[in-house]
């Protein structure tokens, strides 16, 4: 039994079958990559996992509980954190304030009316946030306006915010898309470090094979909305079905 | 049965005004992505074009007629309008009589100009600003425009008569086989309704059959792609805005005989037109037209005494109630596309 079990998921948009009978099992404390050519349904699948879309049929179980019909914030509170393709952070707030928000979410749940206590007196939150920033090597940038961070730092901050909640499953949606090579390598290193030092499961959707092969322990190949193969990275490389699916993008 | 037909007819003229304003609002929102709170003011500018033309026609000069004397023994002064002086008595009388329809000829260039100035001078700079800023700056503009009109024309309603032929009511009931006077409908309202269908038809035909219209429709469906195609968006935005302004202005011109315009009618119409746009579906032109007529008719039914006796005051709130229900039950509106502005 994996921590995330997707069974028989179908999703249609009008005449387009975006997902057809997807089965997927992500084992606890592994890095599981989902790859596939453009339009394979990777993003649709991800959106079904986090509550943005509801599949037409099938089930999505996280740690034995169904996530279907729950809103994104409820699913997050269950222990799934999501990193977006373009970093989603609170651009108007400072880095420190950004980091405090997941700490509050972890401590107080999805809503708390703490309207008369001062943020600066929330010692536990400040400590937690500082700790999380130090983990990301960003403590010195804590007073910066987060909108003025570099792209790589924004990504770092976003991942740090997700980790501050101590999720059991971290979902990454093409975390290196549009990044320069150096930033990509930094992100890979960061993710490796997370994989090796934390009790966490990582599911990553990625286009860049370099990223996938440096991180993943299991790889699922998605094509036209259906999983083709699930294998270890070594076995994926020469797999005929995979070559076939990627024929149009042979350069990858 | 005749009562129902009468209420539908009564709803049509108001519905026409809603539809025309909402059409322009939707056009602007769909292509430019701007919420124009000054759109009601454009309607008012149109209405005051009609008032202005009427006044221009009555500008006169005085001459003395030595052959006649008034009761004090002085030579009588005769006022002659320039119109009469230039065109002769017959045509002048006709032009004065037909001043409202003639005002359309004046309103078209005026409104196009106003639209171009507004878009180039102000709206253009707000495409990249948040929606809240767009709302605020056009709201400010609406105040300014309406105050300017108030300065020149005062705060009181100004009567403008339709051409004599259209004064009075037509007995529609007789044509439909009811008793005489069962369905009496003012001629001018019928004219207004027909006029608005022509304008609406014109706008749709323009969008459907011209290359320009094709680009505008493509832009409404997917702004980014059209931008990528290397089409000169700026110029088209300006023209679209000018067209929307003209539609609102013409709606105002022809509406003057129905309700004598005041400087602030735009404010009231604007709120209702927003409701129409929301009910029709943000960004859907047919939706705006359909919802305009629908809400006009619903409003007219709600103001029947039979209805008001059961639900007092329902006529005052029915339009808003419908908007609330639509937004809660079907956020994209009657004809809005799925996924457009549903949040």
């Amino acid at each position: 039994m994996g921590i995330l079990e997707v069974k028989g998921v179908n999703k249609r948009f009008g005449g387009l079958q975006a997902l057809g009978d997807v089965n997927l099992s992500v084992q606890e404390q592994t890095v599981h990559a989902i790859i596939g050519p453009n339009g394979a349904g990777k993003s649709t699948l991800l959106n079904c996992l986090v509550g943005k879309l509801i599949p037409d049929t099938g089930s999505v179980m996280f740690d034995g509980q169904s996530v279907l019909g729950r809103t994104p914030y409820e699913i997050n509170q269950m222990g799934i954190s999501r990193v977006f393709q373009t970093p989603e952070i609170f651009g108007d707030l400072t880095v420190m304030e950004n980091m405090m928000i997941p700490c509050f979410a972890k401590r107080d749940g999805s809503f708390s009316m703490t309207a008369f206590a001062a943020v600066r007196n929330q010692k536990d939150i400040i400590e937690h946030a500082m700790h999380a920033l130090e983990d990301m090597n960003m403590a010195d940038k804590r007073h910066m306006h987060s909108a003025s961070l570099s792209r790589g730092d924004k990504r770092r901050l976003e991942i740090g915010m997700c980790l501050a909640q101590e999720p059991r499953l971290l979902l990454l949606d093409e975390p290196t898309a549009g990044m320069a090579r150096a930033d990509t390598n930094n992100t890979i290193d960061l993710l490796k470090q997370i994989r090796d030092t934390r009790d966490i499961t990582i599911a990553i959707i990625e286009h860049d094979m370099h990223v996938v092969f440096s991180l993943a322990e299991r790889i699922t190949v998605l094509a036209q909305g259906t999983p083709l193969v699930e294998e270890t990275p070594e076995n994926i490389k020469g797999h005929p079905k995979v070559r076939e699916a990627y024929l149009g993008e042979a350069q990858v | 049965m005749d009562a129902i037909i009468l209420q539908i007819l009564n709803g049509l003229d108001k519905g026409s005004a809603y539809a025309l304003i909402a059409l322009g609002l939707t056009l602007i929102f769909g292509t430019l992505g701007v919420v124009n709170f000054a759109h009601g003011a454009l309607f008012v500018i149109g209405a005051f074009c009609a008032v202005t033309l009427n006044r221009i026609f009555s500008i006169s000069f005085e001459t003395t007629d030595p052959t006649k004397v008034d009761f004090l023994g002085n030579p009588a002064t005769i006022k002659t309008t320039y119109l009469e002086h230039w065109f002769g008595a017959g045509p002048a009388a006709w032009m004065t009589d037909w001043s409202v329809p003639l005002a359309i000829l004046m309103a078209i260039p005026v409104m196009l100009l106003v639209g171009v100035i507004m878009e180039r001078g102000l709206i253009k700079h707000f495409y990249k600003r948040p929606h809240a800023d767009q709302i605020l700056v056009t709201f400010g503009l609406a105040i300014v425009l309406q105050e300017i009109i108030k300065f020149f024309y005062g705060a009181n309603p100004i009567q403008t008569a339709p051409p004599d032929v259209f004064i009075g009511t037509m007995d529609l009931g007789v044509w439909l086989g009811f008793e005489a006077n069962a369905i009496a409908y003012p001629y001018w309202r019928m004219v207004y309704f027909l006029f608005s269908t022509v304008i609406i038809g014109g706008v749709f035909a323009f969008l459907q059959f011209t290359t320009f219209g094709m680009v505008v429709r493509a832009g409404m469906a997917d702004r980014e792609t059209v931008g990528l195609l290397g089409i000169d968006i700026d110029k088209r935005f300006t023209i679209t805005f000018a067209i929307a302004a003209t539609v609102a202005g013409l709606a105002g011109v022809m509406y003057t005989p129905i309700t004598p315009p005041t400087y602030d009618i735009g404010v009231e119409l604007l709120v209702l037109s927003f409701v129409v746009v929301v009910v029709g579906g943000m960004g859907s032109l047919p939706g705006a037209v359909l919802a305009g007529f629908l809400l006009g008719i619903v409003e007219s039914f709600a103001s029947m005494n039979e209805v008001k006796n059961i639900l007092p005051g329902i006529d005052q709130i029915i339009v808003y109630l419908m908007a609330i229900i639509v937004i809660l039950v079907r956020p994209r509106g009657l004809m809005g596309r799925k996924g457009v502005m549903e949040d």
Binding site: E88, I89, D92, T114 | V271, G313, I317, I324
Partner: protein
């Protein structure tokens, strides 16, 4: 102090001093002079408006400034508060405590209902929904609920709701003043301080409003600095990220909406305490627009902005509407005659009855060139001076 940082406490202190000494500071010109007639603002009626609209805009700023949700219907809560207060006067008597309590409660309930519906949407839809709901309330207050011949005449329609001798006023005792009062102290009672040629009016109603203003300001500082306030700013910044960080945005925005609605109710109640009548025009959506204008003029999302915006708006409205052609002629008399007339004709549309035009233009200018309002203007000027001194990197928090 009072659970505030030093910077915020200083700000509160400055505002407190301003409130206390406003009757003096705002009356800089001696009585009877032309300058006094034009520029003095230290009379009770106007100062009450400063304080009350300050409260209103402080509340509006908690919603719009922090969460970015632009409501075009807040005047409806102001009006509801006024009606509630006048009803308390009619039923119980002129004691203002029940009146103010009911105003806040009624507006709180109304804003809960309106907020519950309109916060299901965001952006433009939210603005239009609040606009539609408030306009619906206005229409009802004006017509259905205000029909004097019906049995549910809650608002008395066009005439406006006021207190009549025939009203029950069950708690009214013979010693009470025949005007809204606090423990027998009439809101109209005032002390005149005559210093030389100056006449300073200390009015009970003003100081009560000022006290509420300080309380409202203090609460707003606490909210700004609280975890709740941080969440509201996060809503404005990136709602999606907030949702995917396990936070439910709806109750946060709803609470902000209700709090700002209660502020509006308090302001409405106070308006009725200063002058015990309430009319539907207070609820019209253009009145809501004026609230928006005040908050933008001052500086949205800042602490002090709302007070500045409300004061600025009321003060200039007052001055502009007083200027007439003869005053203009007097001012411009140094110009050559013909030129003077031309100038008067040119300025004429912008003053007197045309003050709306001037404020509308000013409002547009602020949005176009100075989106942060007076506070941003002040900061820019401050920076100009500071830049000459040293080039220190700014390390300040975005919210002042």
């Amino acid at each position: 102090m009072l659970g505030l940082e030093k910077k915020d406490f200083t700000l509160l202190l400055i505002v407190t001093v301003m409130v206390i000494f406003a009757p003096f500071v705002l009356n800089p010109f001696p009585e009877g002079t032309a300058m006094a007639q034009m520029f003095n603002a230290g009379y009770p009626d106007l100062m009450q408006r400063f304080a009350i609209f300050g409260i209103l805009v402080i509340g509006f700023n908690i919603l719009f400034g922090l969460t970015g949700y632009l409501s075009f219907g807040h005047a409806a809560f102001l009006g509801a508060g006024s009606y509630a207060a006048v009803w308390m006067f009619k039923l119980l008597g002129y004691d203002i405590i029940p009146a103010i309590l009911l105003s806040i409660a009624v507006s709180g309930l109304f804003s809960l209902a309106v907020g519950y519906v309109s916060l299901r949407r965001s952006g433009i839809y939210f603005s239009i929904l609040t606009l539609a709901l408030a306009q619906m309330m206005f229409n009802m207050a004006y017509s259905v609920l205000g029909n004097p011949s019906s049995s549910y005449n809650l608002t008395n329609g066009e005439t406006g709701l006021q207190v009549y001798n025939s009203d029950p006023q069950v708690l009214l005792s013979a010693t009470d003043p025949n005007f809204p009062h606090l423990f027998g102290l009439s809101m109209r009672s005032e002390t005149h301080l005559l210093v030389g040629n100056w006449d300073f009016t200390l009015n009970a109603g003003y100081y009560l409003s000022g006290l509420f203003l300080l309380l409202a300001f203090y609460i707003s500082i606490r909210i700004f600095r609280s975890p709740f306030g941080l969440m509201l700013r996060a809503v404005k910044s990136n709602q999606q990220r907030l949702n995917y960080t396990g936070l439910n945005t709806r109750p946060y925005t709803l609470m902000a909406f209700v709090i700002s609605g209660m502020y509006a109710g308090l302001a409405g109640g106070l308006l009725a305490c200063m002058d015990p009548l309430a009319g539907a025009e207070r609820m019209h959506w253009t009145a809501s627009g004026e609230i928006v204008i005040m908050s933008i003029l001052g500086g949205i999302g800042t602490l002090i902005g709302p007070i500045l915006g409300a004061g600025f708006n009321e003060y200039f409205k007052n001055i502009l509407s007083k200027i007439n052609d003869s005053i203009l002629h007097e001012w411009l008399s140094f110009l050559p005659d013909g030129f003077e007339d031309i100038m008067v004709t040119l300025i004429h549309p912008f003053v007197g009855k045309g003050w709306h035009l001037t404020l509308g233009l000013l409002f547009m200018m602020v949005i176009i060139f100075l989106p942060g309002g007076l506070v941003e203007g002040g900061q820019r000027i401050g920076k100009l001076f500071r830049r000459k001194k040293a080039d220190t990197p700014s390390d300040e928090t975005p919210v002042e």
